[in-house]
């Protein structure tokens, strides 16, 4: 017997942190404008020493004002989507569950768009109106996962095929509504492909990063408190109940927190697909399926995956750009098919 220890979780997360750091450096270096590693190192050092004023303005502009915020965003979005995916997989007992596949991302996108539509008609302070989109996205995500959960239930049990079909159909229905709204309402709503495909190129206000960061740690932390409950839920709700899991409470906490994570991610990056599917599977292969280690490693793995995918999206067709959602879909959709086929045999 070799039970999981805190030490092991810590070491494995440290390893991933190192990898994340390397990927961030790579992401800072590559792009339409090449930056030498030497210049990057020099500037990072100067920044660390508090001598930001000495950083050359060209580099500084590109590194600090364009690439770094985008990388930060990628980290938060990747971590959020992956933790949400892991949680949905455990709660729904379905290894193919993912915020995008289940339509939760589309629900969040629709919620965000509706918030953008009503925003001009509300008289609230600008500081609060910034939060309107994430809140709308959260409500959209929560409503969608509730609907899909009940769609997937048959005779009191979750039927995995019905659940997936219900999710896919819900996603396509919600996407159709999004397209309808985008085509009938013009104005300052961000482009259509952003909500349906997802990308990280939209510049955001500084305080939204704080909001995202705090939201991520609150929601992911809440999910982490149920880590051992999720382990038992893998064997089914009835069995978990007999082993002492307060199933309704865990279900409520995790659905709300996972909806919040999806809503936050989608409100700033649109619907980036399959991250919540690929990353948990990769991490499960490497670290095992115990959620005490799986949740933190998927968060870090998701950050790595999205920053990496976004670097690809920025560079492969430079000086033009791909949507990062296209990169993750190219990698994720075949994996989905593979997992589906393996389950059926």
């Amino acid at each position: 017997m070799r039970p999981l220890t805190f030490r092991r979780v810590f070491l494995q997360c440290s390893l991933l942190l190192v990898i994340l750091f390397v990927v961030v450096i790579v992401a800072l270096k590559f792009g339409a404008v090449p930056v030498s590693l030497y210049a990057l190192g020099r500037d990072l050092l100067r920044f660390a020493l508090g001598q930001s004023s000495q950083i050359s303005t060209d580099y500084g502009m590109i590194i600090w004002n364009i690439r770094l915020p985008r990388i930060l965003l990628g980290i938060l979005v990747g971590a959020s989507l992956s933790v949400a995916g892991t949680s949905f997989q455990a709660l729904l007992r379905n290894p193919l569950a993912d915020p995008y596949v289940l339509g939760v991302s589309s629900g969040a996108a629709l919620g965000a768009i509706l918030a953008l539509i009503v925003e001009p008609h509300l008289t609230i302070s600008p500081a609060l109106s910034v939060l309107l989109t994430p809140v709308g996205a959260f409500l959209g995500a929560a409503a969608t996962i509730t609907a899909v959960y009940f769609l997937g239930r048959r005779e009191g049990q979750i039927d995995s095929t019905t659940l997936l079909l219900g999710g896919v159909i819900t996603a396509s229905f919600l996407s159709a509504i999004i397209m309808f709204l985008m085509n009938t309402l013009s104005g300052n709503l961000r482009g259509l492909s952003f909500w349906l495909m997802g990308d990280l190129s939209t510049p955001l206000q500084k305080n939204i990063y704080w909001f995202l960061g705090v939201g991520f740690f609150a929601a992911a932390g809440a999910i982490y408190t149920t880590a051992t409950d999720l382990n038992l839920l893998l064997a089914g709700e009835k069995e978990a109940m007999h082993l002492g899991v307060d199933v309704p409470r865990v279900r409520l906490v995790v659905y709300i927190a996972a909806s919040l994570l999806t809503g936050l991610a989608v409100s700033v990056s649109g619907a980036i697909g399959y991250v919540g599917l690929i990353v948990p599977h990769a991490m499960r292969l490497i670290f095992g399926s115990d959620h005490r280690v799986l949740l933190p490693t998927t968060a870090l793995g998701g950050a790595i995956a999205v920053v990496f995918a976004d670097t690809l999206a920025r560079t492969v067709v430079a000086p033009s750009e791909l949507a990062v959602g296209a990169v993750t879909a190219v990698a994720g959709a075949p994996l989905f098919i593979y997992l589906l086929r393996r389950r059926l045999t």
Partner: protein
């Protein structure tokens, strides 16, 4: 709603009721309906029995007689419509899921896992209700889990994957997980289903030994008349949601009664051990 139901659900009632028995099922009934406006699809009529520490109770009856419903009521995951079930004086349904899992362990027919797990990981799950939710397993937990595996003779399975062991081995590991909960009451829902004869006898031998050594009260739902007759101290005979008889096997195993309940011609003889043996007569 009857008066006894209000008693079972009233939060103001003193939680503990003094009793000589470990398990006391008092005038319990239950009704299940898919739609509250419709007549219930299934009802369990008033059922009562008691069991002491170390006793094995077998719940017998044909399909749809209410055996599993009764077991879930005892486990406290269903709320009785009337009456109450006491475990060491506490109403099982009123316990929190955590406390319940510290006192009651349930072994179900099958246990499907979404992702592969090793036997030792599976057995350690039994310690869940004993720890705080974020706690990593202590040395004590590991020792108790190892001991549980040894008690069911499955120590050598510890490092095997759950999806790569035989049905009988799996059933023993599931029983080990229940033992790792260190319960007062051990509930088993058709544990011998899908097992070959040797595995069935092996499982029930270990149950009898464990009940005697650890003073568990064991309640087992089964279709195996002869195994129940051989191992049980008490038999609860059920038919279509009614509890027909409660008593030691020798008094329950009467030819006319069993023939009427199971709708099958059979003969009953008493062995030298005082245990009854049932033989099903075919084509009669």
């Amino acid at each position: 709603m009857s008066g006894s139901s209000a008693l079972a659900r009233n939060p103001g009632e003193p939680a503990r009721v003094a009793s000589d028995f470990r398990l006391s099922v008092e005038q319990v009934s239950y009704a299940y309906s898919a739609n509250p406006a419709q007549a219930p699809l299934f009802t369990l009529e008033t059922t009562s029995f008691q069991a002491k520490p170390g006793e094995i109770v077998a719940i017998l009856g044909p399909n749809a007689s209410g055996k599993s419903t009764l077991l879930n009521l005892i486990a406290g995951v269903l709320a009785p419509l009337s009456g109450r079930i006491l475990l060491d004086g506490f109403v099982t349904h009123s316990l929190t899921p955590r406390t319940r899992a510290q006192r009651i362990a349930m072994v179900q027919q099958e246990s499907r896992l979404l992702f592969p797990a090793r036997a030792w990981e599976f057995v350690l799950q039994g310690r869940h209700a004993r720890g705080r939710s974020l706690r990593f397993e202590s040395d004590d937990d590991v020792r108790i889990a190892e001991n549980a595996l040894a008690q069911v003779g499955a120590a050598e399975l510890s490092d095997r994957w759950m999806n790569q062991i035989s049905g009988g081995e799996k059933q023993r590991v599931i029983l080990a997980r229940a033992l790792a909960q260190q319960p007062l009451l051990l509930l088993l829902d058709e544990p011998t289903l899908h097992l070959d004869i040797a595995a069935q006898v092996g499982l029930l031998d270990s149950l009898r030994r464990l009940a005697a050594e650890n003073r568990y009260t064991v309640v087992v739902v089964t279709h195996e008349l002869n195994l129940a007759g051989e191992y049980a101290n008490q038999v609860v005979l059920m038919q279509r949601g009614r509890c027909l008889r409660v008593g030691p096997p020798a008094s329950i195993y009467q030819r006319e009664l069993l023939e009427q309940v199971f709708q099958t011609p059979l003969s009953v003889e008493l062995k030298a051990s005082g245990r009854p043996r049932v033989t099903v007569l075919s084509g009669a």
